[in-house]
């Protein structure tokens, strides 16, 4: 019975990492209990789970704030990033003049400029969003620009033979061809938007009703509520995984008919 299941790749793909995770949690819990580790230094998984259940209301509220900033930033990064790419491919001159600034934005640590942004932007949510956009936008710009440029030269010749307008060339040739690259950028960028939202909040140190998960972590740290700190961390991680999975699903849906990356390998 078990032999065919072990040979089933999609089963192993889920089961193997799951087994590792369960094993890890088990060792963790046993070690914490055996060593009688105080929970303000290292709580066991059960303790963390309890903190998650007990504190679900503030945690969920904080999650909502973080999610809001993440999605807002991600959306803005996608719109602005794609717009910038479309601008870049219009002429080599535009790209040469502006691309270094996109790189500049990418290499400047957001932690270093976050205090400035917080001074300039009154509303906390928007200040955090701006920081997250700065982090998340670069992969979209660079990937989409690369995709828009990576056109089969023969197809391009053909379009030119038929005296196609630049608009037609863009819509019929460049944009569809750039989709795999764009979705690649999306995967990276979604994770970065979350990281940006969390990092910015650490720096900004929001408080009160508008506090997100990062602030929850800080606050729990001050109060030595270490289990809740872990619970908040767990929520951030789960959010990241969910975002990534969503992007993979989206890209799969969009490309599965034609692109190699979305093809199912037959055995």
């Amino acid at each position: 019975m078990s032999a065919p299941l072990i040979q089933n790749e999609s089963f192993v793909k889920v089961a193997a990492p799951l087994a590792v995770g369960v094993l890890f949690l088990l060792i963790w819990e046993i070690a914490v209990q055996a060593l009688e580790m105080p929970k303000y230094i290292l709580p066991g998984p059960i303790e963390i789970f309890k903190a998650l259940i007990d504190g679900w209301q503030p945690l969920l509220g904080a999650l909502y704030i973080t999610l809001k900033v993440t999605f807002l930033a991600f959306l803005i990064a996608v719109v602005l990033g794609v717009a910038a790419s479309l601008l870049f491919v219009q002429s080599k001159w535009i790209e040469m003049s502006l691309f270094p600034y996109a790189v500049l934005m990418q290499v400047t640590p957001v932690v270093a400029i976050a205090p400035l942004i917080i001074i300039w932007v009154d509303d906390t949510t928007w200040a955090l969003t701006v920081c997250a956009v700065i982090i998340a936008i670069f992969p979209i710009i660079s990937n989409t620009t690369l995709g828009l440029r990576s056109v089969d030269p023969n197809l391009l010749s053909m379009f030119r033979m038929y005296r196609t307008s630049r608009w037609q060339e863009l819509v019929r040739l460049r944009i569809p061809g750039a989709l795999p690259y764009f979705f690649g950028g999306l995967r990276i960028s979604s994770g970065l938007a979350l990281i940006g939202a969390v990092v910015a909040e650490f720096v900004a140190g929001t408080g009160g009703a508008k506090a997100g998960l990062a602030y929850m972590i800080l606050q729990s740290g001050y109060n030595l509520q270490i289990p809740r700190m872990f619970a908040a961390l767990l929520l951030i991680t789960l959010t990241g995984i969910a975002l990534f999975a969503l992007m993979v699903w989206l890209s799969d849906r969009a490309l599965r008919n034609w692109h190699e990356s979305a093809l199912e390998v037959e055995h």
């Binding site: 089969d152 010749s157 053909m158 379009f159 196609t164 630049r166 040739l173 989709l179 008919n257 034609w258």
Partner: protein, 292 residues
């Protein structure tokens, strides 16, 4: 966008005689479709890709360009398509005894070495691309697409994606795409080079049939002597370094041709003649002296 030197841009009557109107010139030859006159192509690094190329393609001909690699046969074909600049010389298109008519009058189609299909689009969408680009639509357009798909043997594959097709079938889709515009001139750049021999022979036969049936004019680049002789009414042999036309051999054998022709003594004779011309051309292209 492309800055090909196709001259002149306005309609100039060159030969309004009855003969020209009747699709033949004063010598009784079919009227020219395209004339390449004294075309030189020199790349920025000094490489002479084409030197003094003169070539007249006439209505209904099947002309093969044959030569060793680097002889500029693909360059010449691309220049004919308006896809490349010429350094000096002219490329002239003719229609109904008139110098054509600028870009609009140049109804030609190009079949590339690879099928060059849009991987994200289904076969029908790929085939209709030239019509889409010309903003054609309606029942007549759909009929043209149906006809093209049927003629290349892809009827019923409308909704397949290119990756679901074999190499030969992808090439068929590519040919169907070239057909839909009903071009005056079909330019093919080693279209079957990447295919296995059986598929290639089959496609050769099919292209010949379509050529005869539709009265096409085809310029076909190949490096296979057998393919050139089998298909062509004329084989133009080119030499390399610099790329130039060195021989122009008529294959005076009737069409339709079939596998009987492949094993005939006439076929063997022409193959020998063309091979010898190709050998001479290859010898010309060898570096004559070695610089120390």
């Amino acid at each position: 966008m492309t800055s090909s030197k196709v001259t002149p841009l306005k309609a100039t009557p060159v030969d309004t005689s009855a003969a020209a109107q009747a699709h033949t010139d004063s010598n009784g030859n079919p009227r020219p479709v395209l004339q390449v006159e004294g075309v030189n192509k020199i790349y920025a690094n000094g490489t002479v890709a084409l030197k003094g190329a003169d070539l007249t393609i006439r209505q209904g001909e099947f002309v093969s360009l044959l030569g060793p690699s680097g002889c500029g046969k693909s360059t010449l074909l691309r220049i004919m398509a308006g896809l490349g600049d010429v350094t000096t010389g002219t490329v002239r298109f003719w229609e109904q005894g008139y110098d054509v008519v600028g870009d609009k009058g140049r109804k030609l189609a190009f079949v590339f070495q690879n099928a060059t299909l849009m991987p994200w689009a289904r076969v029908r969408k790929n085939v209709r691309l030239p019509l889409d680009l010309e903003h054609q639509s309606g029942a007549e357009t759909e009929r043209k697409i149906d006809d093209a798909l049927e003629m290349v043997g892809l009827k019923g594959f409308d909704n397949a994606f290119p990756r679901e097709l074999s190499g030969g079938m992808q090439m068929r889709a590519s040919i169907a795409r070239a057909m839909v515009t009903e071009p005056n001139l079909l330019l093919m750049d080693e279209p079957f080079g990447a295919l296995d021999e059986m598929t290639r022979n089959k496609l050769n036969d099919d292209v010949l049939k379509l050529w005869q049936k539709n009265g096409w004019t085809i310029v076909f680049v190949t490096h296979s002597v057998y393919e050139a002789v089998y298909l062509s009414s004329r084989v133009v042999v080119m030499a390399a370094r610099p790329g130039r036309i060195v021989d122009d051999i008529s294959i005076d054998q009737p069409f339709p041709r079939n596998s009987d022709f492949r094993v005939s003594t006439e076929f063997a004779g022409y193959c020998r003649q063309v091979s010898q011309a190709l050998e001479r051309a290859s010898a010309m292209g060898q570096p004559q002296e070695v610089k120390a």
